[in-house]
Amino acid sequence: MRSPPPVSMGYGWIGAWHEFLFTTNGSSLALLSTYLLALFVRWTVSLNGYSGEGVPPLHGDFEAQRHWMEITTALPRREWYRYDLKYWGLDYPLLTAYHSWLMGRIGQMINPEWMALDTSRRMESEGLKMYMRLTALATEWVIYVPAVVIFANRWVGHGHWLKKNTLITLILLQPALIIIDHGHFQYNSAMLGFTLWAIVSLITGHHVLASVFFVFALNYKQMALFYALPVFAYLLGTCFRGPNGFQLFVKLGVTVVATFTLLFAAYSTDVSDILQVFARVFPVERGLYEDKVANVWCAISVLVKLRQRFEAQSLVYLSLSATLLAVLPSSIHVFRHPRPLTLLYALLNGSLGFFLFAFQVHEKSILLPLLPATLLILDAPFASAFFNTVAMYSLFPLLRRDVLVLPYVVLTVLWMAVSAFTWSRVAAPVKLFAMITYSTMLALHILEATVPPPANLPDIYVMANVLLSTGLFSLLLVYFNYRQWVTRSIASNPITNEKQKKR
């Protein structure tokens, strides 16, 4: 696969629609149409069920998020990470807690019963569902969407009207994020939004601001650690290359420490409280992987029962060293060449490496590598579109549990339709490979729907899903690493061009 030609118009349906608007003097409506479609898709997905709807006693993520609104508004701050931990104890860092507090306060104004301490547990009502859905939508459109638009403006540059709109449309129609945040129910767009703000700040050269945003992301969900190494490597690389490197290094260090300090000082000044937050956020004792996830360890365990053969401690070391091995090459590369395009690839490779090899990974964490992958969709079109489709497939066992099969099908078809243009630029063997992959997935879906699993292998379909997804993710990890290494010589990014011209 060679890189696409720098001038490209074949953007499929999106391109055709924009072409129509352009030739009929309707260019100003282009972004409005994107926003309306994105909003419509999100809202209609949110009409579906959420995780744990009507499944006592614990319900699911929806109840967890609602419960955190309850405890943060009803209890003194010290109690947030201590109160009745067995029932959805808060296990995300402080910004999530603050965010829950804000949403809880607003919710209380509408209906205090939704967030009443203890009595509101397992509450399910139409009004509550709608309120929670609206908070997810509002969070996304306040934090994430503006960052997407600014990113596209910066990434594509002026004069590339169609390219920019296509990029925005594709990023906003990314199916996995929509179905997890608005279907399953979570606030991933907040963490991803902060990360995207950090990326925007980095590629525009606002390094100090970027470090503030990244600390926000880390403090919203600890999963942002997947990105930490590439971001650190990029910043360090910039410090080494820039004229006032040491000064920048000191500035960054002070900013990071100050932001952390402020966030924690607002919570408590007592060391035991802060240690309790960390104990909740990093639960090492939980095991190598949780549930069935398209992760190397889970895939291997189909053949070798790792947990029975080795001690927990040695598994931690094994996973740690494998992760480092997977992540280090791309991070070293971005350290040596701290440029926007390499940064995105390094973020992608770093987070995908973490996803595949790290300890305690959720299937939803695939959203982390998906963010930089989708941002790169005009730079590595086919691989990015393919990755999104496979990721959607890997989420299927989770979505089926949440009764989100219909939106799963519709969103995947929509994604395949709007990204169909990416097929045109790939070599025939790759096309064949992708077609075989998609047919296998379809066949597995049909089998699962029609043939019940054998009694001795009740999880066979889930395991098939895990094996297939892990294999494809690993392939993609290799491919994206390769892309990162060859990107050095390709100047397909206008920002890189400008910088090179200046030099």
Partner: protein, 483 residues
């Protein structure tokens, strides 16, 4: 403008690139584009002369479905997303009809009343439900159980919603048929889009739940036949749609006058042969429909025309009688202030079905509404008699529907579609018609808002109305700026 110039230059380069690889994607790229010599004539348009690119519409010879299927695909996607939306009692009504037609012999279809949602559509619709029930049997037999009332299982929802979506393909066929005269491909795509992507149908069929799409599709086919002066076909199709849903009776006067004048009066003389032909062909449709039920016709008619129901439907149609009822309320307040005793029994449209009694203004009987309706239709019918052209026929369809909507007995607000669908066929005539269509569709769709009253639908409604407001406007503007 200058920054867009870049885009067009890129477009041209890319088109060459694309042509070389011989593939195409989507609507726009399928339009044949070619370089045009810079003649003085072409240079009149700045953009064309600067870039040398122009979109050449190839009109009728091209494959029309390649333009129209993407619209259908997009519409289907929107409708699939709407599947979990709020469903009105009409959902259970249609499920119950599935059960009735499947479980009972046809003699009992119109007598069954275990559910309050009795079968009250003409026989063709009953047969339609029977056909669906054959498929439902394979998919999820439990929904066909007569006593399984209020079945809201996901299988039932998926099945019924999917049948609405699939049957709406007929609507698209109607839109395709009726826009064949369009001069350019772009014009055609715009017209099909304006007809087939109306939020009104989406609201009523895909959220509220009904099967209007395919009925309007048959009506479009019938209108198309009429406009091409294939009166017998048009008459048969209209008789068919009447036997699916009798609400189309409101527009029957227009059909009657048009057929009589432009077909039966051949060259100024009444042709008995033609009259016999059209009468026998349309009556044959009725015979096929009601024939198997010949012993039960009085029962069917009592189901089809329930004059026991009140003047205003439980969900008010914003028509003349709503204003009348409002006037009554005002007079009650006036009477209170003036200390004039009034009967307080007035229970205007209280409850689902019931008589409407007014306190001060005179009570209204079905016959009054009928007279007013006919009076409102007379002017356009008179014009149609004098000027029996396809254009006037279309106008009289619209106005007959509108008159009935405004003055009819027990009108549903959904009946506004009877006006909006034919109105969408007139938008190409002139900007004036386009304007009327835009304003009336916007208002009509807005008038459907109370139909979808759940809070979760508020956002859906607003997005769809806004999409129509912006992109409908843009389509209409494009349609008229191109000429």
């Amino acid at each position: 403008m200058p920054r867009y110039r870049n885009l067009l230059v890129r477009a041209s380069i890319n088109l060459k690139w694309k042509r070389n690889r011989n593939f195409d994607l989507g609507i726009g790229s399928k339009m044949k584009q070619r370089r045009v010599p810079r003649t003085a004539e072409r240079a009149s348009s700045v953009e064309e002369s600067e870039t040398g690119i122009v979109t050449v519409d190839t009109g009728k010879d091209s494959q029309p479905w390649s333009d129209i299927l993407p619209i259908f695909a997009f519409a289907t996607l929107v409708k699939l997303l709407l599947i979990p939306s709020y469903r009105s009692t009409d959902f259970e009504v249609h499920r119950n009809w599935l059960a009735i037609t499947h479980s009972l012999p046809r003699e009992k279809w119109y007598y069954e009343d275990r559910s309050e949602w009795t079968l009250d559509y003409p026989p063709f619709f009953a047969w339609f439900e029977w056909t669906l029930s054959q498929a439902a049997q394979l998919f999820y037999p439990a929904m066909l159980d007569l006593d399984n009332l209020e079945d809201q299982s996901w299988q039932t929802v998926l099945f019924q919603r999917a049948t609405v979506i699939l049957s709406e393909f007929v609507f698209l066929c109607g839109a395709e048929r009726i826009t064949r005269h369009a001069r350019t491909r772009q014009q055609r795509v715009l017209l099909v889009g304006l007809i087939a992507l109306s939020p009104g149908i989406v609201f009523v069929d895909h959220i509220h739940f009904q099967y209007n799409g395919f009925l309007y599709g048959i009506q479009l086919l019938s209108i198309a036949a009429m406009m091409e002066k294939r009166h017998i076909l048009g008459g048969i199709l209209f008789a068919v749609v009447l036997n699916f849903k009798h609400i189309y009776l409101y527009q029957a006067p227009a059909y009657f006058v048009y057929i009589l004048r432009s077909y039966c009066f051949d060259g100024g003389f009444f042709s008995l042969k033609r009259f016999a032909a059209i009468a026998s062909s349309t009556l044959a449709v009725f015979a096929i429909s009601f024939g198997p039920f010949v012993k039960h016709i009085p029962q069917i008619l009592s189901r089809l025309f329930p004059f026991k129901r009140g003047l205003c439907h439980a969900y008010w149609a914003p028509n003349f009688w709503a204003v009348y009822a409002f006037g009554d309320r005002i007079f009650i307040q006036v009477a209170k202030v003036a200390k004039v005793p009034v009967s307080q029994t007035a229970s205007l449209t209280r409850g689902l079905i019931g008589n409407t009694a007014f306190s001060i203004l005179p009570d209204i009987q079905p016959i009054h509404t009928m007279i007013l309706t006919v009076l409102s239709q007379l002017p356009i019918l008179a014009k149609l008699w004098v000027d029996a052209t396809p254009a006037t026929f279309l106008d009289s369809l619209i106005l007959c529907g509108f008159g009935s909507y405004l003055f009819g007995w027990h009108v549903h607000e959904k009946a506004i579609l009877l006006v909006l669908v034919p109105l969408s066929l007139t938008v190409e005539r002139s900007p004036k018609y386009a304007r009327a269509f835009y304003i009336l569709t916007y208002t009509g769709v807005y008038s459907l808002f109370p139909l979808l009253f759940k809070p979760a639908e508020t956002i859906t409604k607003m997005i769809l109305l806004m999409a129509f407001a912006v992109f409908g406007y843009h389509a209409l503007k494009t349609l008229h700026s191109a000429r």
